[in-house]
């Protein structure tokens, strides 16, 4: 008995993709394995770590807690879509580079997407707000010190 497949139209980083996937295919897997946008990482698949965070219609969401079929018609932004149109690093990315906000880089895409949306909502966070902005993402390498600095630096760079 083969599994029913669904046609899904995903708009990712401005491009439209047509997919045929089983209903159970997680959005994270569809992005990584079907669209080969492997910048979105998977660290827990139960919603806690935040490595898989992408923007869905501009708001950060866990792609491991969504099915690709449920994202039909939504605008998805992944880390691959955060650079400037000319290919240079976007402000949050630039701030991470300057502040040494990453080590192994595995958690980084989730932080970048989360902060991008966070600064859109609050472009001039206080120190406390900068910490709060990244409080739902786990990083095992950096001890977060430089990630918080990067949020503040990105705000300065004006995202």
């Amino acid at each position: 008995m083969s599994e029913e497949l669904h046609d899904v139209r995903l708009m990712v980083n401005g491009a439209t993709h047509e997919l045929r996937v089983p209903a159970r295919r997680l959005l994270s897997d569809a992005l990584r394995h079907d669209l080969r946008l492997t910048g979105t990482h998977v660290g827990c698949e139960h919603g806690v770590c935040g490595a898989c965070t992408v923007l869905v219609d501009g708001a950060p969401m866990r792609s491991c807690l969504m099915f690709a079929v449920s994202a039909e018609g939504a605008e998805v932004t992944t880390v691959e879509g955060l650079a400037n149109p000319d290919g240079s690093l976007g402000p949050v990315q630039q701030a991470f580079a300057e502040c040494h906000g990453l080590q192994c880089g595995f958690c980084t895409p989730g932080f970048l997407t989360t902060i991008t949306a966070g600064l859109r909502e609050n472009p001039t966070p206080t120190h406390e707000e900068a910490r709060e902005m990244v409080a739902g993402n786990l990083c095992r390498c950096t001890g977060y010190q430089n990630i918080v600095k990067a949020v503040e630096r990105a705000a300065e760079l004006g995202s």
């Binding site: 827990c44 990453l102 880089g105 595995f106 910490r131 095992r140 001890g143 977060y144 990630i147």
Partner: protein, 805 residues
């Protein structure tokens, strides 16, 4: 001269890829549709005999390609059915046991691999795993040190007492010295398990190429050469038929140094058998129950000392819970037993340990690798002595320090690498002064009083450690200057976020005089550097850094020799700046590195302008062979670094905490680190390592633990319940100061920095929380870590009753 990059906070080159989402981690390799995916059936029981495995329902599942159990392994090679290697044998390890790639007859921990399914995708593979039926006969499990020692039940029938190893080392006669000392104390301590928990789990991809008759393996490891050798042996291949490539690795912290994991053999086995690329990506739940843990120990300490707190004798006995198998040998307990001594002279010392089997996930090194437990034992002892004598805790430490003029200082023990435990350099008194200043040690009593006036209770703790880093046997490096002037560097050990591509490029640019941007570093690819050991024990900068420095030096010697000839100058008069060799004082007379590379390789065929200049007709002396007898074509340098022994980094941490009198919540108010890793290559990266270590230390001391129940089930195998710190749980700001006592053992004067941040955490938090509680309960003591608010509450209750009764 261009400014030296050594010591500069150079921005990381690897970040450009990572920040764009262009990192290549193992699950990002081979994302094409026809790759097959594996899933593993794991034991749900901690201890059971396998009576029968029925896979008949599995092969009907559409999309399943193969299912393997133990009985299928021998069809690959006979050695595939043998137990996995015991990587580090030791004379004391009399009863070493390792698991099979798939369980044979018996399972010994929840999570042990029993069957391996390969299917079109991971979803289908998991469906199939769910249809395998296993009949078990349940056996009673052994959980925890106490049960292991009692040995009422054996983990392995042929290991009496559950003891894999007993080991003892001593200097002088500690029991006699203790008996004769003016004062004596005894302490019983425990530390619970935690785990490395990198954000990326394990993963392996393999492709068998029938045209080339060779195997290509990508794996998320800390030792690609180790995996290569193990895979070759198990698959019955020549080493030369196996390539192991370590792609980007999403954190290791020790767990990926153990190898081969069952899947690192099963994936290649299936890939060859099926003629398809096969991928295994460990999920988070699997990582909890089938990778490795660390830290769990029970310790008994006896100490004798004088009125100043000076140690006369130290006698330590501890029991190390290494889980169901011991593939990584005795490294962790040996490190505990030796590094326990820290910056101190114990006068006489005896240490004995037993490494014990339990029916739990096995234990292999986690960042710090036994040092946190050793530091905890020693520093709790120092605090107990100070408390007993009514002395300042810093003072008691200071009287026991090895003094700066006593280096090299031989502790008289044998270290984990089989070499003598001889400290190369350090300045502990200066470090203590810096630490006290940084945390405000002398001002603390006033702060405590101020807080007490507001009804708040605060405490301060201090802990010191010494860390043997950069152990051998060796690392190597290869430096190749291409004809376009680009410099390609390869070293064999692997990278998990330490910024090797940056720091190694700094070293090469400094030595070679090329521009930093022209250097490209590759790590962990056996095709580029087949001789290597691995990334552990804070050894990458020391070992590969030194090797790269030496290899660059060799390349430079050749550059100068060829350039001197071309420029008709004396080598001694040449300089290399920004990739151009010129005669000092006459900048017009110059040649760039790319052209030197062209000249280094006489050609028969020309294919571009540059190579035209290098054909036999245009270079060299027609009277001599194109390549001199003692020379080789090409502009390369290769060298290895193999030190006599480890180099010893050191550090001190101090923390101020607040404990809530009502809820027993623990808040960190200030965290200070003074650190000595010799010369710094890139201070930004070193500080990043410290930040990360401190955060893991906070986790290990206050949040994380492996909660096993008595049946051997891990109750918190998820990120919901295994409480890794978020930003909100780590200190807001970590004050760091450096001391640089260079190592005399390596050309750069560096020491390792990777693990340091995590070593003193259990010790320093135990001290600070205890100190805070003593405001109300003067005899309050902490003897078990980690500590949660719930446990602190119960300690208050029990010790409060004792102290009022």
């Amino acid at each position: 001269m261009t400014t030296k990059l050594m010591g500069q906070a150079v921005q990381r080159v690897e970040d450009q890829r990572f920040l764009r989402g262009l990192g290549r981690y193992v699950d990002d390799v081979a994302v094409e549709q026809d790759v097959l995916h594996a899933a593993v059936l794991r034991s749900p029981h901690a201890h059971a005999r396998i009576l029968d495995i029925d896979v008949s329902e599995v092969l009907d599942v559409e999309g399943v390609h193969a299912v393997y159990t133990y009985d299928d392994l021998a069809s690959c090679t006979p050695q595939m059915a043998e137990p996995l290697p015991l990587l580090i044998p030791h004379p004391s390890l009399t009863h070493g046991r390792t698991q099979h790639a798939l369980a044979k007859d018996e399972v010994n921990y929840v999570g042990e691999a029993i069957a391996f399914v390969v299917a079109d995708d991971r979803y289908v593979a998991e469906d199939a795993v769910g249809r395998i039926r296993v009949d078990y006969e349940l056996l009673p499990p052994v959980v925890g040190v106490e049960a292991a020692r009692a040995a009422a039940v054996l983990v392995h029938d042929d290991v009496p007492g559950n003891v894999a190893a007993r080991m003892e080392q001593s200097v002088g006669d500690a029991p006699a010295a203790i008996a004769a000392a003016p004062h004596r104390l005894a302490l019983d301590l425990t530390v619970e398990r935690s785990a490395c928990m990198p954000m990326e789990g394990r993963g392996t991809v393999a492709r068998w190429d029938p045209d080339l008759n060779r195997l290509q393996v990508w794996t998320s490891t800390q030792s690609s050469t180790g995996v290569r050798a193990a895979v070759a042996v198990k698959m019955g291949l020549d080493l030369g038929q196996v390539d192991v490539i370590t792609p980007d690795v999403g954190g290791g912290f020790g767990v990926k140094i153990n190898h081969p994991w069952p899947e690192e053999l099963l994936v290649p086995m299936a890939a060859r058998a099926l003629g398809r690329t096969v991928k295994f990506t460990e999920d988070r739940r699997e990582h909890f129950i089938s990778s490795a843990h660390e830290r769990g120990q029970v310790q008994h300490i006896e100490v004798g000392f004088d009125d100043d707190g000076r140690l006369h004798g130290l006698d330590v006995e501890f029991w190390h819970d290494h889980g169901a198998f011991i593939p990584y040998g005795l490294i962790v307990p040996i490190i505990t037993s030796t590094q326990l001594l820290g910056p101190y002279k114990p006068q006489s010392y005896r240490v004995r340990f037993e490494s014990l089997y339990t029916n739990t996930v096995m234990v292999t090194p986690y960042r710090g690798a036994g040092r946190p437990q050793g530091c905890y034992a020693m520093e709790r002892t120092m605090d107990a002595i100070a408390d007993y004598l009514g002395k300042d805790r810093a003072e008691v430490r200071a009287v026991n320090f090895i003094q700066p003029d006593e280096f090299p200082f031989d502790q008289g023990l044998v270290f984990q690498d089989g070499r003598e435990l001889e400290y190369d350099s350090g300045d502990y008194p200066a470090m203590l002064e810096k630490t006290k200043a940084l945390v405000g040690w002398d001002e603390f009593p006033a702060f405590r009083a101020e807080m007490a006036a507001e009804g708040r209770q605060v405490g301060i703790g201090l802990a010191c450690y010494v860390e043997g880093t950069g152990v051998g046997p060796y690392e190597g490096a290869h430096v190749h200057i291409e004809t376009n002037g680009k410099v390609k560097v390869a070293t064999g050990l692997t990278t998990q976020g330490q910024g090797h591509a940056t720091v190694f490029a700094q070293l090469v640019a400094d030595e070679l005089g090329c521009s930093f941007e022209d250097v490209e570093v590759v790590t962990g690819d056996t095709r580029r550097m087949p001789y290597a050991v691995g990334t552990f024990a804070s050894r990458a900068a020391v070992m590969s850094g030194s090797a790269i420095h030496l290899a660059a030096k060799r390349a430079k010697e050749k550059v100068l020799r060829i350039a001197a000839e071309a420029l008709e100058a004396d080598e001694k008069d040449l300089q290399i700046v920004d990739g151009v060799v010129s005669v000092k004082g006459s900048p017009g007379t110059s040649i760039d590195l790319g052209t030197v590379s062209v000249l280094s390789n006489p050609l028969r065929y020309a294919f571009d302008e540059k190579s035209k200049a290098a054909t036999q007709f245009s270079i060299g002396d027609p009277g001599k062979p194109p390549v001199a007898e003692d020379d080789e074509p090409g502009l390369e340098g290769k060298d290895f670094y193999s030190p006599e022994r480890a180099t010893f980094a050191s550090g001190m941490h101090a923390v101020i905490v607040e404990t809530d009198p009502e809820t027993a919540e623990i808040t960190i108010l200030k965290y200070a680190v003074v650190h000595d890793c010799g010369h710094l290559i890139n201070p930004m990266i070193v500080e990043g390592q410290i930040h990360g270590g401190v955060a893991q230390g906070v986790g290990g001391a206050l949040y994380e633990r492996m909660a096993y129940d008595e049946s051997g089930q891990l109750l918190n195998a998820s990120f919901m319940d295994f409480l890794m710190p978020y930003v909100t749980e780590v200190p807001d700001g970590i004050d760091i100061d450096h001391l640089e006592t260079p190592s005399p053992l390596n050309p750069l004067g560096i020491k390792g920095a990777g693990e340091a941040g995590v070593i003193p955490s259990a010790a320093v938090f135990a001290a600070a929380v205890e100190d805070a509680e003593r405001g109300r309960l003067p005899d309050f003591t902490i003897r078990a870590m980690p500590i949660s608010p719930s446990e602190l509450f119960h300690l208050r209750e029990s010790q409060g009753q004792e102290q009022t009764s």
